[in-house]
Symmetry: C2
Subunit: 517 residues, 2 copies
Amino acid sequence: MTGNPRLIRIDPHDNVAVVATDGGLAAGQEIDGLVLTENVPQGHKVALTTLEKGEPVVRYGVVIGHAARPIPAGSWINEANLNMPPPPVLSELAPPLGTETDITPLEGYTFQGYRNRDGSVGTRNILAITNTVQCVSGVVGHAVDRIRREMLPRFANVDDVVALDHTYGCGVAIEAPGAAIPVRTLHNIARNPNFAGSTMVVSLGCEKLQPARLFPEIFQAPAAPGSRDGGAASLVTLQDETHVGFEAMISSILQSAEQHLTTLNTRQRETCPASDLVVGLQCGGSDAFSGVTANPALGIAADLIVRAGGTVMFSEVTEVRDGIDRLVARAATPAIARDLIREMAWYDDYLEMGLTDRSANTSPGNKKGGLSNIVEKAMGSISKSGSMPISGVVPAGERATKNGLLFAATPASDFICGTLQLAAGMNVHVFTTGRGTPYGLSEVPVIKIVTRTDLARRWHDLVDIDAGRIISAGDTLESMGMEIFKKILAVAGGEKTSAERLGLCNQLALFNPGPVT
Amino acid sequence: MTGNPRLIRIDPHDNVAVVATDGGLAAGQEIDGLVLTENVPQGHKVALTTLEKGEPVVRYGVVIGHAARPIPAGSWINEANLNMPPPPVLSELAPPLGTETDITPLEGYTFQGYRNRDGSVGTRNILAITNTVQCVSGVVGHAVDRIRREMLPRFANVDDVVALDHTYGCGVAIEAPGAAIPVRTLHNIARNPNFAGSTMVVSLGCEKLQPARLFPEIFQAPAAPGSRDGGAASLVTLQDETHVGFEAMISSILQSAEQHLTTLNTRQRETCPASDLVVGLQCGGSDAFSGVTANPALGIAADLIVRAGGTVMFSEVTEVRDGIDRLVARAATPAIARDLIREMAWYDDYLEMGLTDRSANTSPGNKKGGLSNIVEKAMGSISKSGSMPISGVVPAGERATKNGLLFAATPASDFICGTLQLAAGMNVHVFTTGRGTPYGLSEVPVIKIVTRTDLARRWHDLVDIDAGRIISAGDTLESMGMEIFKKILAVAGGEKTSAERLGLCNQLALFNPGPVT
């Protein structure tokens, strides 16, 4: 893949190739001995051989579907002439053996981070204020504006103050089995390394998600009167009788913030090994180049981080479901293989209960970008996980507790996935996109990598890395992987991302499989 | 109920009464011939007679439970000694007959509103910008800040610019049956009378919730290039190729906003009859006084609005489920009775699928406030619907199309209920609370009514009406009902609410019973 190829074939077994040319290819064009029978847009697949009806269509060396009708060589293959195969049957997966991979250690890479008392390392120095319930959101929003305007300039070492706003906390079936996920998610987001174990808590008072339920280790008893320190966190309860009038509430929050900012302001960056990275990987607005440029390059960066002893999380259950056989084969132990299968089975059931399946994943933009179905999308998505053994599975909302390559089980929704990776403890987020999205988070820096150079040109100030150079400029996957790895270290050490420079951030979005009331 | 009663009995059949005294009553106190056997907090129930195990406990003339053990007269009745009865069996409800109530018309009440072309009337003049997907939220937020700062001062007649932000739009099973509710909710919120049919639309481009799916009546085809007017709405698509760099996106939004603001600025308030009111009723953070003061007074206001020809919506399925027999008896026609039963049955199934039931509704604060279970809470909640016939049922996310008293079927979550009532077309929101909540919306003014005078004193600048005066100052329910009705007219005409003065607002929260992907 050097120069400016017009057709890209990934695996020698593939009987399709993807059009790389800007603007696509026209009917009648001859290319690599093939004559196109129709116009094929950029990113879309061309049949390299004539296919009979029912014959497998192979990309990434994987059957991504079967010809719905006879397809002459040089034809455009898309969702209209491609039948999707069923997903791997979980109960029929080969018994997991565990892998024995020699991991060559990678040493000497460091970044400047904020070391926390629990050993985790922050990449930003942020005062976080979590609400136990949406009711207090307006008051907290007002307080955050004032803290930002009136107080933050006095604390030069603190990057920001962020409200961990959400719509959970009351009006939900908090004893239903599904509630465990949003509750532990909120608990663990507040413990993200970027907040230094110093998250403030604002409660209403009468809500279902009482502070003692959200942080049992801090608030043993129901909310005590007034604003008080509860170990590392502090609590302001708006319904407390000491609060007479709105300004009294704001004043309680501001007083608490002053103490927290004073402490946070003493934090200093120090040299930390790359093994302190906890990098969450995600893709959104994917196209057919996601699996050609950005994702495999990110996979190489993931391998480097794992070799350096760090933590990498990949996610998005519906985007790996069709490749679960490949993931199970990479599980470091049989127990991890079983964990992977358990998460897939849970999600299969969850989707079935909602009368849908994993094919609901693909978006109009995915298809426009050349991804015919979820199988093809999954193969591209998985490639960002690199090649290392999978050394753990993090259930939705839980915090990662070990290093290496982890599967953090999350929905593929960008916002829910990002929110759950925050809970899992990520300190850098890497996001690949083919169609383009201005995604960002307030809590953790988000590095955005695009799959195509023309998008990188148009969105020059919205994205961070152009992986399209693998096609447009002949960069190798290896050099791009190393560039991404170094960018992650630089951003972890304080270099601002495009989203940070523009101040772009998205809402947190909880995964709540339980009912609202 | 004049003077300062210490025990309040609602119905002559009740065998419990509620302690009204601030601070509660102490063991040994004699009151109305009864000696208290233990301390009973304010808002909690005292047994007026000795109850055998299994004997019904009656409040509001309704069985709210059965004694879990023998309860001597003068004892505190709470969730520990009260067994909850099952809800009315939907299939056993008496066949609905339809009611024949003579409604005495109420004439001569008006407010100053903004008349829209479709006949609806706005109470505020707001530029709304809806996103089709959360991806664009950061960009829209940036644009809204700039519009507010740089443009709004030039358009003195426009009250505000509001982003209709939400986490739906992609990463969801948009073809699953459950998706219909969030999609139509977003469609109808954009049509709220306060936005004058002039809502702007910002799309990413590749999302599942394409503009043409969200507004089929405006955008017949997939998003066309650039920013363009589509009838009443206008569309900016961030992925459009004309957008080179972030500022180009912002500039597209600002240009469109300038046109919309120019049009909105010509709107003038005019005298509208009270029949143009569309009032959404809700309670949140309820206590035992909710059903004694604020809610029944609001019920009287609701009757006045209905008599004046206006529209009143009450909601919150789990808070009316236990009184469905009473609501069915008030249905104006048999078809409306069947609609009510259908909504209850749907929600029963929804909760059962999540392995819970309507008892998941009550919060710790409800119980602390004296509400022992959902049956007792429901009776207080229903009282805000007044006494008029129910003339329609609005399914979740749909827009109300007739006047009179409507049941808008929504979850009881304050934020979801408010969001769905916005979609139903409310132009004033009235919210009662016993425990206190700083609830507010950006889209529609929210009048907050509290149940107790001590809360009104503490939260003096956060609430609008003290219905506790029914106990503390001997106001009648009738005079309080008329006061609320007049307040609704004044606020509809432009008088600012407490939440508006403080700038307090909460997030929109969609009801999405379908799965995320």
